[in-house]
């Protein structure tokens, strides 16, 4: 599975792999915020995200995250299908992870045992992860958000447009992000050297 080095010309993975993972399949509602990332509406009423833009943003997120110390990156995922892919992503790139319920005060209350002061945060769903989002806002760190067609992008500083609900879509997007961060850090010489499989990121049913 090899991506091109030229961002203008090719996708990070063949288009059919994006399509079978459902990364582009949005929701039946769309938010005004996400309009620039929507490609079309299907006859069944689902909004479809623009894969080229998703791909561009994965590249951008890779560069963005590669500039931070690994342990200063915090990844959060409250909802079930996001937890495993977010964990594998965080573990592989050396970031901190909070999967499941986000304890209020984690970023703002130094008395809590889990208190942490990251420099940047990745939220799997700005709606489901809104406690983490609000705290990140308050402490003034940049916020990367995986945003579906229906998400508000309030407070998000860098949007990655993607299906953020599907099991396989979340596995694919985090697999791509992991590989891209390692590539940008220089840990991976080229994309084909990445040894994890998308299945390693998939939540079990």
């Amino acid at each position: 599975m090899e991506g091109s080095e030229n961002p203008e010309e090719a996708l990070l993975i063949p288009e059919d792999q994006y399509l079978t993972s459902g990364v582009h399949i949005g929701t039946q509602q769309k938010s005004a915020d996400m309009k620039p990332f929507i490609y079309k509406i299907r006859t069944d009423g689902l909004y479809v995200l623009d894969i080229q833009k998703t791909d561009d943003r994965i590249r951008g997120a890779g560069k963005f995250l590669a500039r931070y110390e690994p342990e200063q990156i915090l990844v959060v995922a409250a909802r079930q299908y996001g937890q495993k892919p977010a964990k594998v992503f965080a573990r592989t790139i050396g970031a901190k992870i909070f999967a499941g319920r986000f304890v209020p005060g984690t970023l703002t209350n130094p008395d809590l045992p889990m208190f942490t002061e990251p420099d940047i945060i990745v939220v799997t769903d700005p709606a489901a992860d809104q406690q983490a989002l609000k705290e990140a806002l308050n402490v003034g760190i940049p916020i990367i958000g995986l945003c579906d067609a229906n998400n508000e992008t309030k407070f998000v500083d860098f949007i990655i447009p993607t299906n953020n609900k599907g099991r396989r879509a979340l596995a694919m997007i985090y697999w791509l992000l992991t590989r891209q961060v390692l590539k940008e850090r220089g840990t991976l010489k080229d994309l084909s050297g990445f040894e994890l499989a998308v299945e390693d990121f998939e939540a079990t049913l």
Binding site: G140, V156, D157
Partner: protein, 54 residues
């Protein structure tokens, strides 16, 4: 533009809820976002490379 101004609206940022970071795309330009622009998802543009966010 000085580093403590919002890249979108130009306001001088002081209050909490603001963020300053290097451009995601190029790492050269500095992006400032005030609370209000973050709240309303107001677009910003990197002066160095032209990247448009969020």
């Amino acid at each position: 533009m000085p580093d403590n101004r919002c890249s979108s609206c130009g306001v001088v940022m002081q209050r909490k809820g603001t963020a300053i970071f290097k451009c995601p795309a190029c790492g050269e330009g500095t992006i400032g976002r005030c609370t209000q622009c973050r709240d309303q998802s107001v677009p910003y543009k990197c002066e160095a490379c032209g990247f448009e966010g969020p």
